[in-house]
C-alpha cells in the first residue's frame, strides 16, 4: 500500500516534469535561438549557441524601431493603469462609503461594462475617435483602455472598500478631518492590496493588446510593442536569428516582472474570473 502510493506519486511527479518541460522548452529555445546565426539555427536547432553573441539583439535594438515601440507600450500601459486605478477608486469610494440615491444604478452601470466585449463596438469607437481627432494618437488608445478597465477596477475596489469598518472614518470626522483627507489619509492606504490587484489585472491585457492599436494606430513611431512586432516579423522574415531576438526582447519585460511578482500576477489575473 505504502509502496504503491510512493510509486504513483513518483509517476505523477514524472508527468509534471514532462509538462513543465513542454511549457518551458519552447521559451528556452526562443532565447537560445536569439544568439544563433541563420546557418547555426538550421544546422543544429537543438544545440546550445556557439557563442552568446549579442549581434542579433543589437540589430533589433539599432536597426528597427523596437525602442520606440517599447517606450510607447510602457507609456500607454502606465498612463492607462494609473488613470483606471484613480478613477475606479474614486467611483468605488463614492459607491461603497456613501448612501445616495441612484447608488445602485451607478454601480450597475459600471458593472454592465464587464459583460460587453468592447471589441464588437470597434466601428462606432473608430468613428467617434475620428470625430474627436483622436485616431492615430496614443491618447485615443489610452481613453479606450481606461473605459475597458474601469468596470473591473470599480468592481474590485467597491468590494474591498465595503469591508473597511465604518468606525475609522467616523473617528477621522470627529477629529475634524475633511472628506478628502479622510479618504486619502485614512481609508485609501488600507486599500493598497486591492489597488495592486486592480492594477495588475488591467496592466497585463493592456500591455499585451494588439487589436485596438491595429485598428487605431497607423503611424509607425506611435505603434505599441505587439503591433510593432508584426511589422518587424514581416521585414526580417528571412533572418531567423534576428526574429528570435526580437521575440525574446519583446517577451523579456513582462517575464521579468512576472518572475518577481508571480503570486500577485496569478491572483490578479485569476481573481477577476473567480471574484
Amino acid at each position: 500500500m505504502q509502496h504503491g502510493e510512493r510509486l504513483k506519486n513518483g509517476l505523477i511527479q514524472f508527468l509534471l516534469i514532462v509538462n513543465a518541460f513542454i511549457m518551458l522548452y519552447p521559451l528556452v529555445v526562443m532565447v537560445l535561438s536569439a544568439f544563433k546565426t541563420n546557418a547555426e539555427l538550421f544546422a543544429s536547432p537543438f544545440a546550445l549557441p556557439e557563442s552568446f553573441s549579442l549581434a542579433n539583439a543589437g540589430r533589433v535594438w539599432s536597426e528597427t524601431n523596437f525602442v520606440r515601440y517599447l517606450l510607447n507600450s510602457v507609456t500607454i500601459t502606465a498612463v492607462s493603469v494609473v488613470v483606471i486605478v484613480v478613477f475606479g477608486t474614486m467611483a468605488a469610494y463614492a459607491i461603497a462609503r456613501y448612501r445616495f440615491r441612484l447608488s445602485g444604478a451607478v454601480f450597475m452601470f459600471f458593472l454592465s461594462g464587464l459583460m460587453v466585449p468592447l471589441k464588437l463596438a470597434i466601428i462606432p469607437l473608430f468613428i467617434q475617435l475620428d470625430l474627436l481627432g483622436l485616431i492615430d494618437t496614443r491618447l485615443g488608445l489610452v481613453l479606450v483602455y481606461v473605459a475597458m478597465g474601469l468596470p473591473s477596477a470599480v468592481f474590485i475596489m467597491t468590494g474591498f472598500l465595503r469591508t473597511l469598518p465604518g468606525e475609522l472614518e467616523e473617528s477621522a470626522r470627529i477629529e475634524g478631518a475633511s472628506e478628502l483627507r479622510t479618504m486619502l489619509q485614512v481609508m485609501l492606504p488600507l486599500a493598497r492590496p486591492a489597488m495592486v490587484i486592480a492594477a495588475i489585472q488591467n496592466a497585463v491585457p493592456i500591455w499585451n493588446d494588439f487589436f485596438f492599436p491595429l485598428v487605431f494606430i497607423s503611424t509607425d513611431r506611435l505603434k505599441t510593442l505587439p503591433q510593432g512586432l508584426t511589422v518587424f516579423m514581416g521585414e526580417y522574415n528571412t533572418d531567423w536569428g534576428v526574429l528570435f531576438a526580437g521575440l525574446t526582447l519583446s517577451a523579456l519585460p513582462i517575464t521579468l516582472v512576472y518572475i518577481v511578482l508571480s503570486r500577485q500576477f496569478i491572483a490578479g489575473l485569476t481573481q477577476g474570473a473567480i471574484k
Binding site: N9, A94, V106, P117
Partner: protein, 311 residues
C-alpha cells in the same frame, strides 16, 4: 437660530452631494463616452448603409439578411461560425480537460507544486502576438523545430500551417499551450475550497484517485467549471489575435482557419488587398456576434448555475 442651523445643514448636504458627484464624474464620463455611446451606436449603425465613415441611408434589415443569407457573405459567415464552434469544442476538451488534470495533480501538493504553478502560468502573461509568431516559426515546414524533432524519431512532418487539414488544429494547439495555465489555476482554486474533511472522509471510505476526482471533486468544482466554460466560450467566439498572426487576415490556407473575428475585421476595415471599408455589413456582423455570444452564454450560465445548486 434654527433657520441658521437648517441652512447650515442644507449647505453641508449640498457639499456632500457635490463631493460624491466629483468622485463619480470622471469614471462616468469615460464610460459614457467610450462604452455606452459606442454600444448604442453599434446597434443603430447595423441598420444603415455607409458612405465612407458616415452612415448614409436607413435600410432596415438588409445588412442582416445579406450577411446571413446572400452570396458571397452568407458562405463566409457560416463557415467562420463553424470554425469558431470547432475551436470552442476542441479547447473545452483538450485545453480545459488537461487543465483539470493539472489542477487535480497540483492539489496533491507534491514537492515543487508551487513552482509548477508559476511555470504553467508563464505563457498566459505573454502577448498572443509573441506566442503566435514563436509557434509559427516552430511549425515552419522546413526549418521549424517541430518537424526537426519529428525527423529525429524518423517521422516526416507536415506543413502544419500550410495544410488545410491541419492549420486550424495547429493554431488551436498553440492556443492551448498559451492558455492552459489559466483554467488550471481556476480549477485549482475551486478544488482548494473543498473542505479537507470531505476529501479525508472519501479517502477513509477507500475512494481511489479516480473515484475522488469524478465522484467528489468534479461535482464540487462546478462553480469553477461554469466560469471556465463561459470564458472559453466568449474567448473562442471572439478569437482574433492568434489566427491573425499565424494564418493572416484571410484565414489561410484557403479560408481553412477563417473565424468570425478575422471575417468581421476584414469586412469592417477592408483586407490588405482591397482596403475597402464596409461599416454597414461589419456592424451587422458585430451585432449578430454580440447577440449570439450574449444569448448563448446567458442560457449556458442558467443551466450551469442550476447544476451547481443540485450538487
Amino acid at each position: 437660530m434654527t433657520t441658521d442651523r437648517l441652512r447650515r445643514a442644507a449647505l453641508a448636504r449640498r457639499k456632500r452631494s457635490l463631493w460624491i458627484a466629483v468622485l463619480l464624474a470622471p469614471g462616468l464620463i469615460v464610460m459614457g463616452l467610450f462604452v455606452a455611446a459606442p454600444l448604442l451606436s453599434a446597434f443603430r449603425y447595423a441598420f444603415y448603409s455607409f458612405h465612407g465613415l458616415a452612415p448614409a441611408d436607413f435600410i432596415g434589415l438588409r445588412n442582416f439578411t445579406e450577411v446571413l443569407t446572400e452570396a458571397p457573405f452568407a458562405d463566409w459567415t457560416w463557415r467562420a461560425l463553424r470554425h469558431n464552434g470547432v475551436v470552442f469544442a476542441a479547447l473545452m476538451v483538450a485545453q480545459n480537460g488537461l487543465a483539470f488534470l493539472i489542477a487535480f495533480v497540483l492539489l496533491k501538493a507534491l514537492p515543487g507544486h508551487r513552482l509548477h504553478q508559476v511555470i504553467v502560468f508563464l505563457p498566459v502573461v505573454l502577448s498572443a502576438v509573441i506566442v503566435g509568431f514563436l509557434w509559427k516559426l516552430f511549425l515552419h515546414p522546413l526549418f521549424g523545430l517541430v518537424n526537426a524533432a519529428l525527423a529525429l524519431v524518423g517521422v516526416q512532418g507536415l506543413p502544419w500551417l500550410g495544410d488545410e487539414r491541419t492549420a486550424l488544429g495547429a493554431i488551436i494547439f498553440t492556443n492551448a499551450w498559451h492558455w492552459v495555465g489559466f483554467p488550471a489555476l481556476i480549477f485549482l482554486a475551486g478544488m482548494q475550497r473543498i473542505s479537507k474533511e470531505t476529501l479525508e472522509a472519501a479517502r477513509i471510505d477507500g475512494a481511489g484517485d479516480w473515484r475522488l476526482m469524478t465522484g467528489i471533486i468534479w461535482p464540487l468544482v462546478a462553480p469553477a467549471t461554469t466560469i471556465v466554460f463561459i470564458l472559453t466560450f466568449i474567448g473562442s467566439f471572439n478569437w482574433f489575435e492568434l489566427p491573425y498572426v499565424m494564418a493572416g487576415l484571410n484565414g489561410s490556407p484557403g479560408g481553412a482557419t477563417d473565424v468570425l473575428g478575422l471575417y468581421f475585421y476584414r469586412t469592417a476595415f477592408g483586407n490588405v488587398t482591397s482596403g475597402l471599408q464596409d461599416f454597414g455589413h461589419g456592424s451587422a456582423l458585430a451585432v449578430l456576434m454580440f447577440l449570439f455570444i450574449a444569448i448563448v452564454s446567458g442560457l449556458a450560465l442558467r443551466v450551469l448555475r442550476r447544476r451547481e445548486i443540485q450538487v
